[in-house]
């Protein structure tokens, strides 16, 4: 059971009212949230410090321009309290980053919600944004995941935030448009809400409902894993899927887990002398240029897949339309299982130590 603030206005307004109260009373110095930046619905993440500007926030918008954990890293450690409204997977991403000392929980109060999934950037940013979004919210009043969300979202079992200070029920909440309930999960949260005049009740999530969603998501996962051929980490299938990779490494740049400033695979270790390539050629009859396109994907799998929180950002930015995140999620799960490790579950949990032997993987190039 946890303390819950009940307000009889729709969830967004309720949250907004709460935030406005906190900000105007200097309980917090700012709010980090998705916000509308123009009339046709385009959103970005903003750090808002003026009460008036709070109106622009779109806390539950089903879009992920950037994985918010990146942003949280850049504004922490914060010297004054900041409320961050982010999606469950972004929260888990941030937890993983904090474990890697890429950010700090200090003065960050996280607000998250049961997530119905994220629409691909181009879907959300299309001209009939309004229509699409309202349909989305209609759908998630029930327990079905909308069809047009990111593939990984359909397969996501962690739609309930794990470590949020404040949780809001969105997915599966039929009263979403009439009531709002803010669950205060932590002392920090409860302390904040002290000064806020409102009705507070003891309540917990509707487990039945959540289980139902979970079941459907599990099914979705099965389906997804079937679709993407990989049944084992077999190389040929890999080559088939990643064959069209152009090596832009966009996937690693948007990945919340890939925090390296200089990716090993972009470092000088991998620019080969021409004689090496020529010698390679003498053994094969053809050699792909640039050589490491697929090697990179394998390498990345090894470096971070066990921490992959399946946000789907990589898949969205891939110019070649490779189902990157679906694969990473799949591979990641299998690796993580070895250590029964759930990425982003808990800041205290230690990252499974992994040895990488690059030699294990044959130099790639079909």
């Amino acid at each position: 059971m946890s303390k819950v603030i009940k307000i009889d206005i729709n969830s967004k307004q309720g949250l907004l009212d709460f935030l406005e109260h906190l900000l105007s009373n200097n309980e917090i110095s700012g709010v980090m949230s998705l916000r509308k930046i123009n009339e046709n619905g385009i959103c970005d993440y903003g750090l808002i410090t003026e009460v008036d500007d709070l109106k622009s926030i779109e806390p539950f918008a089903p879009v992920m321009p950037v994985n918010a954990s990146h942003i949280l890293s850049s504004i922490t450690p914060a010297k004054k309290p900041i409320i961050a409204i982010i999606k469950p997977c972004e929260l888990r991403g941030f937890v993983e980053r904090v474990k890697r000392k890429q950010g700090s929980m200090k003065n960050i109060i996280t607000v998250s919600y049961t997530c119905g999934g994220v629409l691909p950037l181009n879907t959300f940013q299309s001209d009939d944004n309004e229509k699409i979004v309202s349909e989305y919210f209609e759908t998630i009043k029930g327990t079905d995941t909308p069809e047009n969300v990111r593939p990984v979202c359909k397969a996501c079992e962690h739609f309930i935030p794990m470590t949020a200070d404040i949780t809001i029920s969105v997915f599966g909440n039929k009263d979403f448009n009439s009531k709002s309930c803010l669950m205060m999960n932590t002392e920090q949260a409860i302390k904040l809400s002290k000064s806020y005049k409102c009705e507070i009740v003891e309540k917990k999530m509707d487990d039945k409902l959540m289980d139902e969603i979970l079941k459907k998501r599990k099914a979705g996962k099965e389906k997804l894993y079937k679709e993407i051929a990989i049944t084992k980490d077999g190389l040929d299938e890999f080559v088939d899927i990643f064959g069209k990779c152009i090596g832009c490494h966009g996937c690693s740049r948007v990945c919340p887990i890939c925090y390296c400033t200089l990716c090993d695979f972009e470092s000088s270790n991998y620019d080969y002398k021409v004689d090496l390539i020529e010698n390679e050629l003498s053994q094969k009859d053809g050699l792909r240029l640039p050589p490491d396109t697929i090697f990179f994907q394998l390498g990345r799998l090894n470096h971070m897949s066990f921490s992959c929180i399946g946000c789907g950002q990589c898949e969205d930015v891939c110019p070649a339309g490779i189902p990157v995140s679906s694969i990473f999620k799949k591979v990641g799960e299998s690796t993580a299982e070895l250590f029964d490790y759930i990425p982003g579950k808990d800041v205290e949990e230690i990252i499974p130590v992994m040895m990488i032997k690059e030699q294990e993987f044959p130099e790639v190039g079909e």
Binding site: I37, D44, G46, D53
Partner: protein, 142 residues
Amino acid sequence: MEKKDFTPKIIGFLCNWCTYAAADQAGALKKEISPNFSVIRVMCSSRIDHNLLLTTFFNGADGILIAGCHPGDCHYDKGNYYARRRYALLKDVMKTLNLEPERLELSWISAAEGKKYSEFVNKFSEKIKKLGPSPINESKLF
């Protein structure tokens, strides 16, 4: 455009050997210099790169002045010629994108030209004041 209460923030990157010396001489001559103008000392105008200029603009500078030795007088032989090219390029880009290129300025001021320094700097500050605050500082988008 001009606001009553607007005090522009202007950064001047001055080369150590000529213009910074000129700034000192302006002091010795007790010339008045606009307090909106802040001096950053570099060894040579050729140290100033696009990243530095952009960072300065995007962190709230309303104007930037690059000033160094006259062409031919560079303490490091040819540095200011390169500075001039880099400046020209960025200025051209700003012009093409209509990003108020007049906010970026280059001038040659020698160590003996304390008077010229004060006049130029104040003139520049006035110009920027007229231009009003850089839109970049107003934007809540970045």
